[in-house]
């Protein structure tokens, strides 16, 4: 490209080059502004067509962020050419053939929507699809819930579980007098980031006991009893992520009494309703116990797993309030959080959910497909447990069948995980969590071999 063209491309190089030269401490004189000057090349500032108007970049101080630890597992898995690789990273259901699954009833709902001429793409209200909101509240709290009958619940459609947690967190940071949220140790990796960016201060409470691979109930109660009045407590409604360890109903009752007597505010994360036990009502028991006592709580619901709508980003935030009047005002303030974030939520996933939930036959079909998914995972747990016992793998592996939901907290340490990835091409998060949904009868033996090798060779 000739000088003249380059000059035309860049506008007025003279002034820019002068600025750049001063910035770099280099001599520059317009007289020698021949862009192709060859003498003392290192001292002549030669612009290239890619130079920004400042010569450098305004983004110089922006460093490369690390891959998200959970989603980054899939990135690494995709890069691996090994034919025996297994992805046990992200919690997305896989069939026995190792394929993603779109529920039959979801496809049917989509057909109905696409063929319905009255189904348009106009902006939803800021709070989302009204039918979807009502049906979601009924699903989680029970159709006969007094809180719903008394109009004390406000439900807003949000972007799956993450979006519901974020909107709820932002609301609390603005309107709740206590800005500390207690999250279980461990918890889903994204929780602390969501709440911190929402404006809350994050603390932890004991949850998992590595020695028993179960619940550290005593410490849990101790920690929560020391929380300041009004502090928010994040609770996994069922199928705790990443441990799979849930409180018993008795333990939930004790947690409830403690939370209520200390005036703490419960915030439920419900990402697995129906997916944990296979039964929608059973998986909502913890939440319903709290709502039954007349107190307030927040609930983030996700349809990513139980309806397989992962990429559609469908969820709901419900806030159960003391009175209908408060619920109305709370809803109006939720809108102020949502509008500057994304204006109004996406329609497609919510329409699918509403279509299914409001039709008796489709709802029934959904419960059947849901149970089938949950049952397959329970079978995988049993198979893996049996396989480890057959191999005589040292250690007590009963937690695999005691834990519930999509994930198992294996108890494997970081080094053992790295070993399993390197030698056996098993992809999982470094905290030892495996997604049972990613296992099949064919891959269980390979996983069992990997665990056996890791446990015997690496301590």
């Amino acid at each position: 490209m000739g000088d003249a063209n380059l000059r035309a491309e860049l506008g007025s190089p003279g002034r820019r080059l002068g600025t750049l030269a001063r910035h770099l401490g280099v001599d520059y004189s317009p007289a020698s502004s021949s862009l192709m000057a060859s003498h003392n090349a290192s001292e002549i500032v030669t612009p290239s067509p890619t130079a920004g108007s400042y010569g450098g970049s305004v983004f110089t101080n922006v460093v490369q962020a690390p891959e998200d630890p959970i989603l980054g597992v899939t990135v690494a898995y995709n890069k691996d050419p090994s034919p025996v690789k297994v992805n046990l990273g992200v919690g997305a259901y896989r069939t026995e053939e190792g394929k993603p699954l779109v529920l039959n009833v979801v496809r049917r709902a989509e057909q109905l929507l696409v063929n319905d001429p009255s189904h348009v793409k106009e902006y939803l209200p800021i709070t989302g699809l009204a039918d979807f909101n009502k049906l979601s509240a009924k699903l989680i709290f029970g159709a006969d819930s007094p809180a719903i009958q008394e109009n004390r619940v406000t439900t807003v459609q949000c972007l799956s579980g993450t979006g519901s947690l974020r909107v709820g967190g932002e609301f609390l940071a603005r309107h709740h007098h206590e800005h500390t949220i207690y999250i279980p140790q461990p918890t889903w990796g994204n929780h602390p980031k969501v709440f911190t960016l929402a404006g809350l201060s994050v603390k932890t409470y004991h949850y998992y006991d590595p020695t028993t691979r179960g619940l550290n109930f005593k410490s849990l109660l101790e920690d929560l009893s020391k929380a300041p009045r009004g502090a928010i407590v994040l609770l996994h409604a069922c199928a705790h992520n990443p441990t799979g360890v849930d409180p018993t109903l008795d333990q939930w009752e004790q947690i409830r009494l403690l939370i209520r007597s200390k005036g703490l505010l419960p915030f439920f994360d419900s990402a697995y309703q129906g997916f944990a036990s296979g039964n929608l009502e059973a998986d909502a028991q913890s939440i319903r116990m709290f709502v039954a006592d007349g107190g307030e709580c927040l609930t983030a619901q996700s349809y990513a797993k139980n309806m397989g709508l992962y990429g559609e980003r469908v969820g709901a935030l419900s806030i159960v309030c003391k009175s209908a009047d408060v619920a109305v005002r709370v809803e109006s303030q939720l809108k102020l959080v949502i509008r500057p974030m994304y204006s109004n939520p996406p329609i497609h996933g919510a329409s699918i959910v509403a279509t299914i939930l409001k039709d008796r036959e489709m709802y029934h079909e959904w419960t059947v497909e849901l149970k089938a998914m949950a049952d397959r995972i329970i079978r995988m747990r049993q198979q893996l447990f049996d396989a480890l016992r057959t191999r005589g793998t040292p250690g007590d592996w009963s937690h695999i069948i005691k834990q519930i939901g999509m994930f198992t907290f294996t108890g494997l340490n970081r080094e053992q995980v790295t070993f399993m990835t390197k030698e056996y091409h098993i992809y999982m998060t470094s905290d030892g969590r495996i997604s049972m949904a990613g296992l099949s009868s064919k891959t269980v033996p390979h996983l069992a071999d990997a665990i056996h090798a890791a446990v015997t060779r690496i301590k």
Binding site: E9, L10, G11, T50, G52, S53, S57, V58, F59, T60, V62, Q64, A65, L71, A92, P100, L101, V102, V106, E110, V114, V120, E122, Y123, L159, T162, G163, H177, N190, V194, A198, G263, G294, G295, E296, G308, Y310, G311, E312, R313, I319, C321, K322, S323, V326, R329, V330, S332, Q333, L336, V337, R339, P340, M341, Y342, S343, N344, P346, I347, G349
Partner: protein
């Protein structure tokens, strides 16, 4: 409500031994000084209420938020039962029959997607790769050097709002001392977005009520007066709410002053293809700045031009001086998206990728877009003719023809806009903006009468 609680408080005796449930007034007396609760005034009252357990919401102090100034208009319109009512509030395209419009290409794309039986797996945090590719090409031109050199960081966002919000969050984190400059007036939600992202902003002059045109000298002066390194929010085309765009010569001068001040251009492109009917023509301003070598940000939306309002599909593009900077910037944008909603919705992204990526569908889209833009131009023409014929005052109504895009800034102030609603049942935003997309040829005369009446007879 307060008096009911008061009577309960007074009637409860000391003899009742109830365990204090959460949120009883007793606990709140010490903790909460903020609330001006009439029940707590006076010592005598306090003594009585000490033993009372009355349940009050922890959200009692939450006040009712005002309705959204733009989206609230549609709510009010729906509530109006008058036959003559006309909704010129939100910018959503309507056919001549005033019906919502789903583009034919969109229906075709959705049918294709359903036939292919695509899955609903999580998208990567940055969104659908095929979408990101076509959206950047559409905006900059596929043969643009910034694309060839891999210097654009593109992240799928939740339509325009979500993309703007991600960019604002990025600015807050990496340019904490920087200010955003927004036009006076601008889309109402711009301020909310920067406020919630905690980016300070100030306004530059834009609209000149005397000429009902651009206050160009004021605009340049204000941009010049701002601190170096500010982010200048520019509407790529079809300025919202005024419909007044700079000429190509004016764009060059705006670029000059931005360059001089080392500002960073930040484009909001919500109407590419919708303003003039030509995708390339509407991208002129963005491509000019790119040609001149700026690093810049561009938020895109497919709400209007593909009628995908409720699917929430858009993108944030950051043009950097090197592909390395682009990679780093993209990684940090992902870090902001993950705690907000994890990953974006797939449906709208697939529709765009299918339409833009297929030559036949793409051509069909261009034709449908010309029709939509054409209808609006026709409506502008008719309205102008009606206004000029019916108004005997000699007022110059030609601004209706000169303004471009979906909206017209009538110059009516708040009281006059209210009059339009109260007397004529015409719904619009209080800043005098009307959405021509919601106007039919058959209603132009009625609207002209209303505007003339409000303009001349209301102070």
């Amino acid at each position: 409500m307060a008096s009911a609680l008061a009577s309960v408080a007074l009637s409860t005796t000391f003899a009742r031994a109830v365990p204090l449930p959460e949120n009883s007034m007793v606990q709140r007396i010490g903790a909460e000084k903020k609330h001006d609760n009439p029940l707590f005034k006076g010592k005598a009252f306090r003594r009585v209420s000490m033993a009372v357990s009355v349940n009050v919401s922890r959200f009692e102090g939450v006040t009712m938020a005002p309705p959204d100034p733009i989206l609230g208009v549609s709510e009010a319109f729906r509530a109006d039962t008058n036959d003559l009512k006309l909704n010129l509030g939100v910018g959503a395209y309507r056919t001549e029959e005033l019906q919502p419009y789903v583009l034919n290409v969109v229906k075709k794309a959705e049918k294709l997607m359903l036939e292919r039986g695509e899955n609903k797996e999580y998208l990567p945090i940055e969104g659908l790769a095929a979408f990101n590719k076509v959206t950047a090409e559409l905006l900059f031109g596929a043969d643009n050097s910034v694309i060839q050199e891999g210097r654009v960081a593109t992240i799928q966002g939740l339509s325009g709002t979500g993309s703007l919000r991600l960019a604002a969050a990025f600015i807050h984190r990496y340019f904490p001392d920087a200010k955003a400059l927004i036009s006076s007036p601008t889309w109402g939600n711009h301020k909310n977005i920067f406020n919630d992202a905690r980016v300070p902003w100030s306004e530059y002059r834009y609209y000149d009520p005397r000429t009902v045109g651009l206050d160009f000298d004021g605009m340049v002066a204000d941009i010049k007066a701002a601190p170096d390194g500010s982010f200048v929010l520019l509407h790529g085309c079809a300025h919202n709410p005024t419909g007044i765009d700079p000429t190509p010569e004016q764009w060059e001068k705006i670029a000059d002053v931005i360059q001089e001040k080392n500002h960073i251009p930040f484009f909001d492109v919500a109407y590419q293809g919708f303003a003039s009917g030509s995708l390339d023509a509407d991208a002129y301003s963005v491509r000019l700045f790119v040609r001149r070598g700026f690093e810049l940000l561009v938020a895109q939306s497919y709400s209007k031009n593909l009628g995908l309002y409720a699917e929430r599909i858009g993108a944030i593009n950051v043009v950097c001086s090197s592909s390395d900077a682009g990679t780093r910037v993209k990684s940090q944008l992902k870090r902001l998206a993950r705690p907000m909603y994890s990953n974006p919705p797939v449906h709208g992204a697939r529709i765009v990728a299918n339409v833009v990526g297929d030559p036949n569908l793409f051509n069909e889209w261009k034709q449908e877009m010309e029709l939509m833009a054409g209808r609006i131009k026709n409506v502008r023409q008719r309205l102008y003719e009606n206004l000029s014929e019916k108004d005997k005052s000699g007022k110059d109504w030609s601004f209706v023809l000169k303004q471009i895009g979906m909206f017209s800034y009538t110059g009516l102030h708040k009281a006059q806009s209210d009059h339009m609603t109260d007397k004529w049942h015409i719904y619009m935003t209080k800043d005098g903006r009307i959405s021509l997309a919601g106007l039919s040829l058959s209603k132009c005369e009625y609207l002209a009468d209303a505007i003339i009446d409000s303009f001349h007879n209301v102070d």
